[in-house]
Symmetry: C2
Subunit: 233 residues, 2 copies
DNA sequence: TAATGCATTTCACTTATTGAAACGCTCTTT
DNA sequence: AAAGAGCGTTTCAATAAGTGAAATGCATTA
């Protein structure tokens, strides 16, 4: 028991990942991909199959309904909030500005589901549950799918005067799950700085659902670690 | 090797299910839930943790980003289509009418992503990729979240004259992922029959993402197996 | 026909999983 | 304060359980 981890389970989860990554995969391919003997791969895939995590048809193995189900459950707001927690903290830590997470709400609106107040004495403030329109706000535009090529949206003095909002989408597959944003008093940030911040926010947004691949190396790299946004006015 | 399944993996997946079901769970609770000794549960949860399937914080274990990621991937249209395939087949087999699967599209519309033509010589026909408005159609109403208490929507002679559409939502957690529907020439179905059909469609829609719990018994029960919709005019 | 590749089964080997027990810890109870 | 209960964690010997090479049968391809 070298590393307090279960080899069999690791292998099974690796296979599960392979199946989900490729969409459909043959036994031989899956075995190659995971560097397993065919017999082992077969046994593990059968276990995954009997539990509904994968299913088998004539073309090979595909993701099963159980994983869709669990993934959807895990995607509840609460989970998304805590998944995004670290990213929000890093944004506040790196910029001193307030950071937010929004999701689409019922009608054509979005709501704040997580907030981290900035550390500046003059800062933007909002609260969990607050509704925002999908137009005229950076977070709203992102939720509305007005995804710019650069990966983030900057709105200066939009619906809220005197503040500049920078937002980027949290993608889940090819669908927009949420919007991550930082809101800054406009006097404190130049257009150029806003773009730099945009890159940072976009990187953090991407990181939220990006598997940092297995055991993150001690002191693993996160977006923003290398380059903290300057904040001189 | 009694049943060609690996106990360790089964247990790990069971724990994963527990974590996702409860949202957050302590080691002791998880162990009890899965009828495992604490030490075994701990080891398996650590494996799940090191692979990103669960994560641990002060409150206990929670679903990790990896499962959200895989679930989202699995939820791509293609997967949903093939997950729904069996349900569509059963609907056509049981009723002889055309059955469809729709998802929300870009603007306020839905699209057909899977069709199964009925077997009657006079039948409704549509095609994959066709767009429907969210109002005036049964599938559209379902997608729009106009979820009736009974679990299905019946639209007689709506946008399409002379046909009766019966639709039910495919829920994924608490969000509407798709609409499952059967469309029947109106002359062939009474209002009462439409309601019966509604129950059937709703049951099938529910079944699509309902884990049929582990190894389905040979000839496992599916909605509609017991009670096929009569179709006398 | 021979050859290649795949899915599947078998089986001896032994590795890797297992769970009881013990420990330190934090609360709660007495 | 001391005792008790519950939790997370580690240890360790027993052995149950997973492993992979090899063999089989079946398609496809050359």
């Amino acid at each position: 028991m070298a590393d307090a981890s279960t080899r069999t389970v690791e292998r099974a989860l690796l296979l599960l990942g392979t199946v989900c990554d490729r969409g459909v995969v043959s036994l031989a391919d899956a075995a190659r991909d995971a560097t397993l003997s065919a017999s082992t791969a077969l046994r593990l895939l059968r276990t995954l199959e009997s539990t509904g995590f994968v299913r088998k048809d004539d073309d090979g193995y595909r993701p099963g309904m159980r994983i869709v189900q669990l993934g959807a459950q895990a995607l509840s707001h609460e989970s998304l909030v805590s998944l995004a927690g670290a990213a929000l903290d890093r944004l506040v830590g790196g910029t001193g500005e307030s950071a937010y997470l929004n999701v689409p709400a019922d009608d054509g609106h979005g709501i704040y589901i997580a907030v981290r107040e900035g550390t500046h004495s003059v800062r933007h403030t909002s609260w969990v549950g607050r509704r925002i329109p999908l137009t005229g706000t950076a977070a709203g535009k992102v939720l509305a799918g007005e995804a710019p090529s650069c990966g983030y949206v900057v709105v200066r003095n939009g619906i809220e005067p005197d503040v500049t909002a920078v937002a980027a989408p949290v993608m889940i597959g090819d669908r927009i799950a949420a919007s991550l944003s930082v809101v800054v008093p406009s006097y404190r940030i130049s257009e150029q700085q806003a773009d730099t911040l945009g890159e940072l926010v976009a990187a953090e947004a991407r990181s939220i659902l990006n598997t940092s691949t297995a055991t993150p190396a001690p002191g693993g790299t996160h977006p923003g670690d290398t380059e903290i946004q300057g904040e001189s006015a």
